[in-house]
Amino acid sequence: AQSVAQPEDQVNVAEGNPLTVKCTYSVSGNPYLFWYVQYPNRGLQFLLKYITGDNLVKGSYGFEAEFNKSQTSFHLKKPSALVSDSALYFCAVTPSTGFQKLVFGTGTRLLVSP
């Protein structure tokens, strides 16, 4: 069975500093990996995905993520955090075969202070 772990409930970072939100996964075969962001009382917004190819994936709003197969990780990063990045971030995985069933982590709350 596939699973996602987001080990940090909350990440605090000062505006302008780099941020990292951690994600590790478990799936049979090759994974498709996604990051979504959720603002209060809103649905999830797609940020980026890893399908194949380059291990560094660039997405929306200056976010990027690094796929590491040996460590089964897909950490979300941004070089310079903004206060407006404060939100709930979810990592999700689906196997590359079969129908798409996204399995989400429990989420990490990012708090960017001015």
């Binding site: 999830l44 995905k49 689906t94 798409q100 069933k101």
Partner: protein, 115 residues
Amino acid sequence: DAGVTQSPTHLIKTRGQHVTLRCSPISGHKSVSWYQQVLGQGPQFIFQYYEKEERGRGNFPDRFSARQFPNYSSELNVNALLLGDSALYLCASSFLSGRGYNEQFFGPGTRLTVL
């Protein structure tokens, strides 16, 4: 372009009642998935439909059912509501089913409260 829309926005029901939630996918998207997000947790997969057929089902009881219409909109039905069904129900659409590399686009959700 209109995104995924869901109705109603909020809903309050009592235990034992039935509820129907509705979803309209992004134009051109033929696949709809439903997720349940309990407060403080990540979304949990309930169903995926593609071309009006169920393509996948999560670990939810038979009280949960869904269908997809010819215009690709979808309904999620929950019978015999329990307190534990209180959650945000999210609908997501994607261009193709079975193609895991297609990202899903989520609607704003329906907040269901069961009293």
